[in-house]
Every structure is written in C-alpha cells, then in structure tokens.
Amino acid sequence: MEKSYKQLVALVPRETPPDRVCFQVMAMIERVQVKRCRLRTGINATLVVGAILVFIPVIHYWNQDVTQSGFVNYLSLIASDSGYIFSHWQDYALSIADSLPVSAGIMILALLVILANSLRRLVQNMGSWGLHRNRMIREFA
C-alpha cells in the first residue's frame, strides 16, 4: 500500500518556487539587521556620551575624597620619607588602605567598564551597520 500511495502522491507535479522567495526573505533579514544595528548603535552611543558626562562629577568627587582622606599625603610620604615607610610598613599599609577613596574608586571603575563596553559595542555595531547597509544596497536595492 505504502508504495502505491507514494507513487500516487508523486503524480502531483512539484512546483519550483520562484527565486524571489529566497531573495525577499534575505532582503527582509537585511532590513531587520540594519534596523537592529541602528538601534544598538544609538543605545551604545547614548551610553558612551552618558558615561563621559557622568565621569566629570565623579572625577571631581574622587578628587575631593582623595584630598579629604589624606590619601595624597600618605602617598607623598613615599617620596619624602621612604625610610620611615620601610621601617613601619605595616602601619603605613593600614593607614593608606584606610584612606583609600573606595566609593569614588568603585564609581570610576564601574564607569570605565561601562564606557569600554559601550565603546566596543558601538564600534562593532557601526561596522555591522555599514556591512548590512552595503549588502542591502548592493544586493537588495
């Protein structure tokens, strides 16, 4: 039975799909890719600009923190009185650790990570955007 029905169904002619089916699908994909890249580029550019803008007050805050905590003074001891530091290195290490501007440092680090990541993605997305746009113009315009 299997064979005869297989033969029967095979009698219905197979139609070759027009080339435009694949062409249109690829064109749709390229359009979506261009849109996605544009959106991602926009988001990452905003993040980069935002991170740079936030950097200014954070640096100011860090500067204040460093001055107020005496961190700079402790550091300057390295140049002025290194003998004392070597003899009392444990006390010195505790004092310098205590005066570290931790919150400002974390903020700066976080901003640096965001900035570096956004910059990397911005460059990648801009590259992809260009490639997809060129492909769309070249092949699907």
């Binding site: 005869s4 033969q7 029967l8 219905v12 002619p13 799909p17 699908v25 492909r135």
Partner: protein, 202 residues
C-alpha cells in the same frame, strides 16, 4: 554583533544542525543555505496545504523569516526539518484564518476522534494500471483539494517528504495516533474520490 563576512565554509557539506549552530552565531549565509535546501519542500507543502492559494509565496517567505527570527530558540538535539514544517503549518493556519479561505471549523472537532474505520485493516493498495492514466495528475490535484488540509498535509509529508509519523506528529502538534488516523481517513477518502477513475482500469 557578528559581521556578515564569514570565513569560507563549505555550507553544502554541513548538516542541518551544524548550519543551525552557525545561524545561531549570526551567520546569514548558513541560513541562506538552509533556506535553499528546504524552500522547494516548504513551498510545495504550503501549496498543498492552502489548496493552491495565491498567498503561498507570502506564507513561504513568512515561514523562513520566522524561522530566522526564532532560530536562537531552536533547541540543540531537535530535528530541524519538523521544526521548520511546524512553523510553515502554523504560518499557513494564521493566513487561512485571516483570509478565511478554508473552512476548518466543520472538521476540526471530528478530526481528533478515532472512528470505526480506523480500527479496520489497512486500505488496499492501488492497482498499478492507475499510474498509466495520464489524466490522473490533474484528477488527483483536484481531489486533494476536497480533503481536509491537515489530511493533505499528512499525505504530502509522509509520501512526498518521507517523514515518519513521529515527525508528522511534531509538525501537526497532535498525538501520533491522531496523525495515523488522519492518514487512514485521507487514504480512504482519496480512494473513494478516485474510485470512478479506478474502476475502468482495475
């Protein structure tokens, strides 16, 4: 975001699953190759399923576009072909429901029941002379349009695309027994419809 330009890969030598893995990494050329592999099968399946609707092309395009959009959700270890045909069938159903081109409602409920006929022995094979009938292709095409689209789908997938009932059950999103029941009914109905053309030959 991966770039379009990829190192040279012999896509034709890759299995479907390998191509899917490449697609997941953003390789559009891998997807293009997958599409080229299945566009004919999907197009002909949809043509049968929608009874030769003029929307077949649009549905095929939509099917592949949806497949591309959801390819990242494709689970490793699954078979690609039944997954693709499931998308094709669902897309066709959406189109049909929108256009109301085919009335499913009168058959939908009855389709899941297993009738008395399903418990009978396998339908008889067709007489070999039938295949010498040159007109048969046209008669068959016309008669297939009288069957329920899901029955046609089962026939097409099983006899034309060589899918197992297990795979068809995945595509149709129904238990395998239901699919087997549909197959039996489709074969019997087709035989009844072709009976006037068979009798002079057999």
């Amino acid at each position: 975001m991966p770039a379009i330009e990829q190192p040279k890969i012999d896509y034709s030598a890759q299995t479907d699953e390998q191509l899917v893995a490449l697609c997941k990494k953003g390789d559009e050329l891998a997807f293009q190759d997958l599409m080229n592999r299945y566009v004919g099968q999907v197009f002909n399946f949809l043509r049968q399923y929608t009874r030769g609707s003029e929307d077949t092309e649009d549905i095929a395009q939509d099917t592949f576009f949806k497949a591309w959009r959801h390819i990242k959700k494709f689970e490793t270890g699954r078979q690609f072909r039944p997954w693709l045909f499931t998308i094709a069938r669902n897309t066709a159903l959406d189109f049909i429901k929108k256009r109301k081109a085919v009335n499913f409602s009168d058959l939908d409920d009855a389709e899941t029941e297993i009738s008395f006929a399903d418990t009978l022995a396998d339908p008889e094979p067709l007489p070999p002379e039938i295949f010498e009938n040159a007109e048969l292709a046209n008669i068959l095409s016309a008669n297939l349009k009288l069957l329920h689209p899901d029955h046609v789908a089962v026939l097409t997938l099983h006899y034309r695309e060589d899918m197992t009932f297990d795979e068809i059950a995945i595509v149709m999103n129904r238990p395998m027994n239901t699919v087997k029941s549909w197959h039996r009914r489709a074969v019997e109905r087709l035989r009844d419809l072709l009976a006037p053309h068979l009798s002079p030959l057999s």
